[in-house]
Symmetry: C2
């Protein structure tokens, strides 16, 4: 208990898929993991081959369970692809890659949902089975769907992301169902808790990973009313996203292509923003403390280091 990072009290993290999940894992490693609640974007969820697929929840669970594939950048380590090969031989739809072990998550989730469990209940059962101490909740048990207006017309998220490989130019993004969706009760409760140490917005794509969460009226209001410091971490380093279309979207949607562009989208909701050490500190943003740190997380040590720095930043803002 000599590690000051472990001292602290509950932390809430808002998270999309792979990139954000690395910081969520870092947080779980440097604090009492039971005190961490990760609220995960579910607006990418979709049905495919009759299966309910929650890509961001699975990325977070794999990261927290130590099951992520470090090379490929998505999915499970030690994965095999015999299902996909057989499906392809049957001329089945093969545009979305499903590993053999990964399939078990989708099949079991679909089975439990069909049996009447909530998405939150299923997620909790899966994370317990995987031996994860941190709590992981979907932003909502209700369906929310990201749709993108592009120069190729309106596209569902996975169609844009996988089928079209993020190539179409994005003009507008909508989260169908967000206005009506109820926030997951544990997410709301944690954000309202008086002893909350920090809220961390993980380095996920602001447009399609974090903003769907913020599009839930209850979660946005809870975040605005939250007494704890809210610290966001840049998903952009040197004008590039580590993975995914964040930089391209910033450009297409007329934002500054850099951490500052992301920080400005979060302005009014965050107290501090962590920009990468490789980037220049941008001009001041009203009400946002800007902080530089090493945000590239190639290994566990870097995840932990960034998590410690984010918590220390939050603690300094709280005057702890």
């Amino acid at each position: 208990m000599s590690d000051p990072a472990r001292a602290g009290g509950p932390v809430v993290a808002l998270c999309g898929g792979v990139g954000g999940a690395k910081l969520a894992d870092g947080l779980a490693r440097v604090m009492c993991a039971e005190d961490l609640l990760v609220i995960v974007n579910t607006a990418d969820d979709f049905r495919h081959l009759g299966l309910w697929i929650s890509p961001d929840i699975d990325s977070v669970l794999y990261a927290l369970a130590g099951l992520s594939d470090p090379q490929r950048g998505w999915g499970r380590r030690d994965e095999s692809w015999n299902f996909m090969a057989a499906l392809r031989a049957l001329h089945g739809p093969d545009w979305f890659q499903l590993g053999d072990a990964d399939l078990a998550m989708h099949v079991e989730r679909t089975r439990r949902l069909a049996a009447g469990e909530s998405l939150g209940g299923v997620t909790d059962a899966l994370r317990r089975a995987l031996g994860i101490a941190a709590r992981v909740v979907p932003m909502s048990d209700d369906p929310v769907s990201t749709r993108l207006l592009t120069d190729a017309g309106w596209l569902e998220f996975q169609s844009y992301f996988v089928r079209h490989r993020c190539r179409p130019c994005v003009q507008r993004i909508e989260f169908a169902g967000a206005a009506q969706a109820r926030a997951h009760p544990a997410a709301l409760e944690s954000l309202h808790a008086g002893e909350l140490r920090a809220v961390v917005i993980c380095p996920s794509n602001p447009f399609v990973s974090i903003e769907p969460i913020l599009a839930l009226p209850q979660l946005r209001a809870a975040l605005q009313a939250c007494a704890a410091p809210v610290v966001a971490v840049t998903p952009i380093i040197g004008g590039q996203a580590i993975k995914g279309p964040a930089a391209k979207m910033l450009r297409e949607l007329g934002c500054e292509v850099g951490g500052a562009g992301v920080a400005r989208r979060y302005a009014g909701l965050i107290d501090a923003f962590v920009i990468d050490q490789a980037d220049e500190l941008p001009a001041a943003i009203d009400g946002v403390v800007l902080h530089r740190a090493a945000t590239l997380m190639l290994g566990a040590a870097q995840r932990e280091q960034l998590a410690r720095e984010v918590l220390a930043l939050a603690d300094s803002l709280r005057g702890a």
Copy 2:
């Protein structure tokens, strides 16, 4: 075209799973495969993990495509089991083994059925994708379910077969839905065709593989009215089933435990019965020509040899 077996005209085979599928494969190998229609039992079909599983259809397709596992005796060759291992780790239902490549059949079948295709249509698409020349049809597009009254109460077929490993003593067998189920149109048409060379009842379990097919009123009537010779092959050798509970069921249901017991169940429907060469010819059965042959099919040569002998027997009965 010097092979007389190839001369002949259309053949219909009635078939359950693994054992029967070997003879279906033998037939496809020694005749013009396009002239073979295999009518497959679907009363073992069940939904599991949200997937529509048709074990006998898949066994037949795997046998005809050369994909059967020769050692294990069921499922696909070169199979991997990473889905099952992951499902088990999630505490999902793991009592029914699903190989990674095998899963593609169930997922694709379920997807197509959900999209409104008939089971026959899906089966045809799968067999074409697998490059199978012989036609394969489910006995019906309508659901029929085998239920067994045992000393452990009523059991669904897969529960009896897999979960209980055929241990309970069987007292009665019912095929729920059979009386109302319509025969697959291609099955009826083939049985009514004037030029039909033979109907072969493959060496499958009479109680739970062949009799569900015969329980469809249209198929039973078509078989009774059929002008072609009907030849059945014993699934019992030396009082034992090669695989599965056929011998145990014969005993429990008060039948003679041997080929003759099976022949007597088919009496009135068949013209000839092939008993294994290891067994004594039983006492005469009214209207049934008894014939001894090597019925154990350990390899392709034996499948072909038995198929040739069955076709020759049929041809001799037809006076061809």
